[in-house]
Amino acid sequence: MLIRPKEGILDPQGKAVERALPALGFEGISHVRVGRMVELEAPEGADLARLCEQLLANPLIEDYEVVEDGE
């Protein structure tokens, strides 16, 4: 599960990372956003959207995406 701060919500972590980049010689990188990744193994048919909406993400402030690797 990939969880990100919603567009338009100030992400001070992302800003702090962005401000550090010029020190590494990176120029022109913008819109850095820091989110969260949760890895898990789930049985077939598990309602992962509900899991995200009720626990892993707060839909008021975060977007989520379920990425399955099918292993």
Binding site: I9, L10, P12, Q13, A16, L55, N58, L60, I61
Partner: protein
């Protein structure tokens, strides 16, 4: 008048909350595994770092068994006050509107702030004057209250913004300087600052007592 002060693993302000409640009534700790709130007239959800605040502040505590009892208590009109982490828990539980994000400055804050009482028609502010200023400390890492613009406008219109940080004193980047809100009925109130740490002039301010006195006044009015 008996207060029930919830205690989660990771709570750390529950004892100060009990001491504050005891200045105006009786109080007892209620362990998070309890499923009933028998004999409790008002619930305080205290500050701290419930369940380590893993994932998001308050995100896991809202699933504690006692929270089902708190939900029933609140829906029956019982007075509930959430302080700091307790505010975060009540927002995550959907009992209060909005969400708390990490402070804009990414630092843990600990300082005295001036609070403006915006709405006195709630269980926690009935003993305050409209526009009254209270000197109360904040101490938190994730205190930036947020609501989308349309929700904020709705809350402002319905009087659900209860406390605002004084001019120039917003410590964490909360939208519209909001420091505390209530539910539609005004019986569930949450705020980031800590009234339980401001109940004795020895610590600089006793303004926090007004909230606990309000909870007692509400109970007495309801019983009358």
């Amino acid at each position: 008048m008996k207060f029930g002060v919830l205690q989660f693993p990771g709570s750390c302000d529950e004892r100060d909350a009990v001491l504050a409640c005891e200045r105006v009534g009786e109080a007892e700790l209620v362990w998070h595994g309890e499923t009933e709130l028998s004999g409790i007239d008002a619930v305080v959800v205290p500050g701290g770092f419930s369940y380590g605040d893993y994932l998001r502040a308050g995100a896991i505590a809202r699933f504690a068994p006692v929270m089902n009892a708190v939900r029933d208590f609140a829906e029956a009109g019982g007075p509930v006050l959430g302080i700091c982490n307790g505010f975060q828990v009540l927002c995550e539980a959907g009992l209060l509107p909005g969400a708390l994000l990490p402070n804009e400055g990414l630092r843990f804050l600990c300082r005295q702030v001036e609070l403006e009482v915006v709405n006195t028609a709630t269980v926690a502010t009935a003993r305050c004057e409209p526009g009254e200023r209270l000197s109360i400390p904040v101490k938190h890492m994730s205190g930036r209250w947020f609501a989308p613009a349309d929700m904020l406008a709705r809350l402002e219109a319905s009087g659900q913004v209860v406390f605002r940080y004084g001019p120039g004193q917003n410590p964490n980047g909360s939208v519209a300087d909001v420091a505390g809100v209530c539910n539609a009925h005004g019986n569930v109130v949450g705020l980031m600052p800590h009234p339980e740490h401001a109940v004795d002039p020895l610590t600089g301010s006793a303004d926090g007592l007004r909230l606990f006195e309000s909870l007692v006044a509400g109970r007495l009015a309801a019983a009358a």
